[in-house]
Amino acid sequence: MKKRGELTSTQIGMLVIAIMGFLVVLFFILGFDFGGVSEREVCHLSVLTRGTSPEAAQMYIPLKCTTEKICLDDGTGNGCKSSFAGESINKISLDKKDNAVAAQQIDKTSAEAMYGCWQMMGEGKIDLFHSLSQNIALDYAKPVCVICSRIAVDVKDARRLNSIYSLTDLGAYLQNNIAGTDGTKSYLEYFTDGQVSSYAKVENRIVIDNPVIVHGEGFCNETNDTTCDSSAYIPITVSDKDKESAVVFMQIKPKSYGDVLKSWGGIAVGGAGGAFAISPKWTMKGITYSTKFIKNFPILSLIATGVVVGNVVSNVYDGRKVAAGYCGEVTLPGVGSSKIDKDRAKNGCSIVQVVPYDAEAINKLCTSIESSP
């Protein structure tokens, strides 16, 4: 006779097939050699796989993103050997005579690399770097980066190089040029979700040194956003003046107290349910012993609970404070600072920016780098 709630052999069979199907897909993603597919597509596929998997398992799904090496070379140098020797590079010929054209080429390459990076990483719409410990606030959120591209400029004549750099203006290029081949938005509108189309207010504050383009929930919509701090402004600074720069995607998404409570609830219900399904007898015993322990040692139980709760509260607070620091104000050497609405910055952000390929600048922005060099 069939017991109530007992699984039929068909149900078990379907369950096994479903699990095996899922695992086959996972094996495919983890172990398949993507020889014929471009590195960008491989990276995007791994981003989607990670983004759509359960948050607790995200960190175990590797991002298959490799830093693209781009060499802008006018033929007089050594083909970016000092930056990329021995590595596979994507070479772009710089105009040999016209400095203005060469400067435009540098801006175009940087803008396209940013565009490609932003698309590849899910346009800031996918949360990629959550771990189980961060979900339940046993650890606080940290900024994690992917270095999408490294761009090196190789021009032997230093005077010509300086002259080219004096003509580059990535900020203006991003503002005045359409992103993609069939797009209607400028690069800047694309990176900022179309919230900002004019930077008249910003232009006066431009620091022509290094670029910082910020996108995130902390952004002020200047036209109709009353909650926005009036002193907040969107930074556009330019960093196409370094011999070697990096296009970096950074994301920090701290959890709110509500999210953490939900995660703890999920773990408690899932854990208890799972334990009950495996062994109802032992689960009941466990509950009885726990209750007894609490009854016998109420102060000790209270202290232990207090320590865990205190740690969780402190980690959520720290995570949001860190996010506000990274998203509310991004400051890098030679860049100046950029501010966005403080309260919303606490919710985190995704940023794509061009920074000097320099340990000091990148380590200030990233606690870890998930891409392969």
Partner: protein, 198 residues
């Protein structure tokens, strides 16, 4: 109520078979995930050493060059176990795989080996094992590796102290590490500048 014994055994057998299959698959997936993660770390470590070798070969004696390398670890970088170690021809204790040459290795530090013979022995063992270390031979009598780093006792403590430690080992605990290489006619000096306050 009659329950056939045969049916009962069959049901139990099915459950056991399903459980075993699931366990095997889960075990397989765990191994695959672990392998994927560690292989990518190992590959990245190899790239770091290739890059340093290229930089060494690119300069002449009495010249220097600076460059940045990415840590092989993708997460928990501040506890990254990968290190760069170097031994000159004159070094008495060095991994056997270096033979009589000088060599530069990138190795994964195994804290479990630490207790067996101390820090130096542990690093030698890690670099000797080809599954945890990659080495390249060079022609230098001496290889010095100097680590420049800053220490702050606690976050509350205002003062920070700068330290310089010259040994033959440096851990790659920054997401991006800055190195300065300088060559003499007989030796190689590698300076590592850490940006992280320890």
């Amino acid at each position: 109520m009659i329950v056939s014994k045969r049916g009962g055994i069959e049901d139990t057998l099915t459950s056991v078979v399903v459980a075993v299959i699931c366990l095997i698959i889960l075990g397989g997936i765990a191994v695959l995930v672990y392998k994927t993660l560690t292989t990518s770390e190992y590959k990245n470590a190899g790239k770091v050493l290739d890059f340093i070798e290229m930089k060494i070969n690119a300069i002449n004696a009495d010249e220097s060059t600076s460059f940045s390398v990415q840590s092989p670890c993708k997460s928990d970088v501040k506890n990254c176990p990968w290190l760069i170690a170097g031994w000159g021809k004159e070094s008495i204790k060095k991994p056997d795989r270096c033979y009589f040459d000088s060599c530069l290795c990138i190795c994964k530090f195994d804290p479990n080996l630490f207790g067996k013979g101390g820090y130096e022995e542990s690093i030698l063992a890690d670099c000797q094992d080809s599954s945890t270390g990659i080495c390249k031979s060079f022609n230098f009598d001496k290889i010095n590796i100097t680590d420049f780093y800053t220490v702050q006792i606690t976050e509350m403590f205002v003062f920070k102290y700068n330290f310089k430690r010259t040994s033959n080992v440096v851990f790659l605990v920054d997401p991006l590490s800055r190195f300065v290489l300088s060559k003499t006619t007989t030796g190689l000096n590698i300076s590592h500048y850490s940006t992280r306050v320890r």
